[in-house]
């Protein structure tokens, strides 16, 4: 039995990293998580759409409104400003792709200098995410100045809840990116870290895709 035990021990070690599909656990779990997030944002977006046009009082997203006591409120949504922030967020996905490529191919030809540096692209992605959040903070503040808060009407409740949840997801992503950047600066990320960056990228792209849905359904369709 002693030989069997040694063989068992050897094989046990081999099997530690055995997976049925060959995929890493965390990647599968991330996809499952994204599945649940789809249902969360699906519910939030559906609620916004179901409640669209059902506010009994303004202000409204796409048309001006005068309250019974004669106060004038402009249409709330400012499509040009949000188009700019949407562009920034879309660009961040490109930066994320380049960051992942830089981590995967670290040290290979074509990945020298700033444009081949994962630090640069991680910082760019985080900066673009932070810029989007800055736009959102500006947007929210200006809406409040225009007389729309989360308490004002059904539009305010459903709009701030939906975009606020998205913003919170971006904020978590920025925190994640900055953590990864910190690790990169501290010890340098290489191909063995590609999985971690890949999973972060999955999350980041998902948050980006959700914004495309929100921007189209909430802002562009009147």
């Amino acid at each position: 039995m002693s030989t069997a035990a040694t063989a068992g021990a050897h094989e046990a070690h081999e099997h530690t990293h055995y997976t049925t599909t060959g995929l890493h656990h965390r990647k599968i779990a991330m996809w499952a998580f994204i599945g649940s997030e789809c249902m969360l944002f699906g519910s939030l977006i559906t609620t916004y759409l179901v409640y669209k046009g059902r506010s009994v009082a303004g202000p409204f997203p796409h048309e001006a409104w005068t309250s019974p006591d004669g106060k004038a409120f402009p249409a709330i949504l400012d499509i040009p400003v949000t188009s700019a922030s949407t562009f920034v967020l879309l660009m961040s996905s490109l930066f994320m792709v380049l960051a992942l490529a830089a981590v995967e191919n670290k040290g290979k030809p074509g990945y020298e200098g700033r444009l081949g540096s994962s630090k640069f692209w991680l910082a760019a992605t985080a900066a673009a995410g932070a810029t989007f959040l800055g736009f959102q903070a500006f947007e929210f503040t200006s809406f409040v100045h225009h007389g729309l808060t989360i308490k004002t009407n059904l539009f305010g409740s459903s709009f701030f809840t939906l975009t606020g949840f998205h913003g919170a997801h971006v904020a978590v992503g920025v925190l994640w990116l900055m953590t990864m950047l910190f690790i990169d600066i501290k010890r340098g990320l290489g191909p063995k870290d590609a999985l971690n960056v890949d999973i972060m990228a999955l999350y980041w792209h998902f948050v980006d895709v959700v914004w495309i849905a929100i921007f189209t359904l909430v802002y562009l369709i009147k």
Partner: protein, 638 residues
């Protein structure tokens, strides 16, 4: 039973690797110990929820009883439902997921051992969060379904529903984290050779359930966030005056709530699908169709939610669609019933207590299933909505179905978990008292319901024809209590004094029976290689394997191939001796869970009016959670 008893060598060695002490339980990441934590906690809540039922039934024993006030009654029935669903049946299923899935698929643990501990601690702390308020008279009082606007700020202004809304959010985190974990585990940690269509049926049903959790829980999370924002931040989601619609709550809640009932029943279906073939000594009839019908139930389960809402008047089109969808779901469920019967047909049957409970499920669930199909028809449903007929229906599926299935599983797997048998004699008492008690409790409710007795009333006048039926229901409840106490006594004394059990005391077909009872911390000294659906029967009862596909078609190759890798492990060595790396125990998942509960508690403080303290609590909780999370993620697993 004599032939099933083991040589005493196993049990004496059984506890060598077991750790003891509170700290070891707080820090454990072993799926088996976490399964035990789920089991004990859920059994405790079963007692709590059972006592709540006893209070309700005692109040209803006779007309115009004055045991408790209407307000207390509201709190007790709300907590009875909430407790039984979220703190008893789901966690009992989770106990089996934890304990069995890795063993059934030939894995050493789940994919994310620490996330698994996290799920448990969120459940444990969330359970306290939602249960403790009953001692201060502020327990949730708006029903387990929390219908707006009764659960909203206007009509439910006290702390009561705060605890419900926030408690359910907390418990949702636990279920979701566990679901990500088990999906990954089942996809990625199956032993070599274990294809999807070779997975034990319990693992199959658990697999379906995890997907349902992943897709259903986020919907109620969104609905609860709306309610939470209405209550705490002054939004108008469910407020009619502002244009909001309480029906939004009903739709979102039941989009979650109906899949939830299959989340509760499918694990029990899985358990009886293990018990019936074992004690029929015959392969499960129509294995493939059983798996497909489980998937079908999971799929259709998302398309029938509005049959809970026929009474709100959705119009003939919506009513028809949901009516047809609901009738359709009877097909895969019926297929399962017939397949279980066909499994037993022509088998060489044995009737230990687990088998009795399993057959009990088949019979009792069928009654609940038939009254369920009656509800699928809107005209019939309109007569039954909000009457005791509905109460009878869902107790037949949840008690007669889920709980009997779980009891079957407990008696079946007790020898694997503890290395000892539960007393069959006490088990017989438990089963028969349970069986008679549940029918005495719930069958008369069909009649009181048909005679028009509404649900959720705290008392009633005499002379409406309900008196006798209510008295019968109440006597049945006391019988169930006695049955429960016998079970508890049997469970706790058998852990130490039960007859010793071997690796495979029942002659069962699947991998978990190839390792010692109780299993060593690493489960499998050697990861098995699977060549068929029933590896243990390949080894011990090849005569039952006719017609079961193997990796190799040639009988001689089969005999050689399966006899070698799937062997019974009889020696008990430590992980260290075998060189198997085990995950380190860690307190960090507990700390993250604690941070989450502190964070949510801040909102209660906010409702109490102390805004600075509320902010301090929430920020403190969030900081503690994030800090612990970073500590967790930066420390090595093993």
């Amino acid at each position: 039973m004599a032939s099933l008893a083991a040589s005493p060598t196993h049990a004496s060695a059984a506890s060598t690797s077991e750790q003891t002490g509170l700290w070891s339980w707080l820090t454990t990441v072993d799926h088996k110990r976490i399964g035990m934590l789920y089991l004990y906690t859920a059994l405790f809540y079963l007692l709590v929820g059972g006592l709540e039922a006893l209070v309700l039934r005692t109040q209803l024993a006779k007309p115009n009883m004055g045991l408790i006030s209407a307000e207390t009654y509201n709190q007790v029935f709300t907590m009875h439902g909430t407790t039984m669903i979220f703190l008893v049946v789901m966690p009992l299923s989770a106990a089996f997921f934890n304990y069995l899935i890795p063993l059934q698929i030939g894995a050493r643990d789940v994919a994310f051992p620490r996330l698994n501990a996290f799920s448990y601690w969120v459940y444990a702390l969330g359970g306290l969060f939602i249960t403790l308020p009953i001692f201060f008279g502020v327990a949730p009082n708006g029903g387990w379904f929390g219908y707006a606007p009764l659960s909203g700020p206007t009509y439910g202004g006290g702390f009561n529903m705060d605890f419900w809304v926030l408690g359910l959010q907390i418990l949702g985190i636990s279920s979701l984290a566990a679901a990500f974990n088990f999906i990954t585990t089942i996809i990625n940690l199956r032993a070599p050779g274990m294809t999807l269509m070779r997975m034990p049926m319990f693992t199959w049903m658990s697999f379906v359930v995890q997907f349902m959790v992943v897709l259903a829980f986020p919907v109620v999370t969104a609905a609860l966030f709306f309610l939470q924002f209405d209550r705490f931040f002054g939004t108008h989601f469910y407020e009619v005056a502002a244009g909001g619609d309480p029906l939004l709550w009903q739709h979102l809640f039941w989009v979650f709530g109906h899949p939830e009932v299959y989340i509760l029943i499918l694990p029990a279906f899985g358990l009886v699908s293990e018990v019936l073939p074992t004690h029929s000594r015959k392969p499960l009839f129509g294995y493939n169709v059983m798996a497909y019908s489980g998937i079908m139930i999971g799929f259709l389960g998302f398309g029938v939610w509005a049959h809970h809402m026929f009474a709100v008047g959705m119009g003939p089109v919506a009513d028809s669609i949901f009516s047809v969808a609901t009738m359709l779901i009877g097909i895969p469920t019926g297929v399962k019933i017939f397949n279980w019967i066909a499994t037993m047909y022509g088998g060489s049957l044995r009737f230990p207590v687990s088998m009795k409970f399993a057959i009990g499920l088949v019979a009792m669930f069928t009654i609940g299933g038939i009254s369920g199909v009656m509800h699928a028809s809107p005209p019939s449903d309109l007569q039954q909505t909000d009457t005791y007929f509905v109460v009878a229906h869902f107790h037949y599926v949840l008690y007669g179905g889920a709980m009997l299935g779980i009891f079957a599983g407990l008696y079946h797997y007790f020898p694997k978990i503890t290395g000892r048998f539960m007393s069959e004699r006490l088990g017989e008492w438990h089963f028969w008292l349970n069986f008679i008690g549940l029918n005495l409790t719930f069958f008369p409710m069909h009649f009181s319901g048909m005679l028009g007795m509404p649900r959720r009333i705290y008392t009633y006048d005499a002379g409406q024809g309900w008196d006798l039926f209510n008295l019968m229901s109440t006597s049945g409840t006391y019988m169930l209590l006695i049955a429960g106490l016998i079970f508890a006594y049997n469970f706790f004394t058998s852990r130490r004094n039960g007859a010793l059990a071997s690796n495979d005391p029942w002659g069962a077909p699947t991998l978990e029976w190839s390792i010692p009872s109780p299993p060593p911390e690493y489960n499998f000294a050697q990861i098995p290689e699977v060549t068929s659906r029933y590896p243990m029967w390949d080894l011990k009862a090849p005569d039952r394997m006719a017609g079961i596909k193997h990796t190799h078609a040639d009988a001689a190759v089969i005999a050689e191939a399966h006899a070698v890798p799937v062997h019974e492990e009889t020696e008990r060595r430590t992980a260290q001796e075998l060189g198997i790396p085990m995950p380190f125990p860690t307190i960090k998942p507990f700390m993250v869970a604690l941070g989450i509960v502190i964070l949510f508690s801040g909102l209660i403080v906010m409702h109490a009016g102390n805004f600075p303290l509320a902010m301090a609590t929430m920020l403190g909780g969030a900081a503690f959670m994030v800090g612990s999370l970073y500590a967790w993620l930066t420390s090595p697993l093993e």
